[in-house]
Symmetry: C2
Subunit: 147 residues, 2 copies
Amino acid sequence: MMDFMEEAIGQAEIALKHDEVPIGAVIVKDGKIIAKGYNKREKSQNALMHAEIIAIKKACRKLKSWRLDGCSIYVTLEPCPMCSGAIANARIARLVYGCEEKSSGDNLCEKILSSTRLNHKVEIVFDEKYSEKCGRLLSDFFKNKRK
Amino acid sequence: MMDFMEEAIGQAEIALKHDEVPIGAVIVKDGKIIAKGYNKREKSQNALMHAEIIAIKKACRKLKSWRLDGCSIYVTLEPCPMCSGAIANARIARLVYGCEEKSSGDNLCEKILSSTRLNHKVEIVFDEKYSEKCGRLLSDFFKNKRK
């Protein structure tokens, strides 16, 4: 079976090459990748251009629907509130993330994805196997920035 | 002084004409509207196309920056988690909303906007003066849908 988190990491590595914070995402339906995205905030100078948002936009276009029923999204980092909300709004069934967001202790991703607001709950999977690899991409990036 | 919530309501009324859930937003900088948006989810079949997201994208383009420092966003309805997160990510200074989101009691908008994650807190103003008008637009829309 194809390892979708490896594909998300591949997207993060593209972001890195463009000197963007290395975060990547892929969306999977019926065992196939239907959309990919990597963080483009700096190049686009658009606050919305996170990896998840780009992938969701492409997936909606591909399925010709704002509802991404039955889809899973694989992201290298636990999503921010904007992206968590977008995942819920698009009715994505499952989120798999590679490493935890440690900059806050408020657990907003889980709160947003389990909110009863939409009568839709997103299953959340923390993919520990990739945690170190996904985290190292980010910590190396910020370490180099501070040099 | 121009009443910016009236302008946001004007955007919601455009959404209504297109048979979209009537929600509108405007972004203001230095006393001038720099971007407008209305909900286009159905027409675009894109889960991201909320009024606030459209306005933020336009404002970033206009200011050529992902940072919307010193900007205020006026929205007819208390933003969902995705839009609340986008407002924080774009470093918008102030949110003014017309009516409260009553479909959940989890207060996520406030939690997201006051999260310490970004070292940025968004001031939140509930504009009671327009609450009834903004709310009636929505309730009339859903009442007609159920007919």
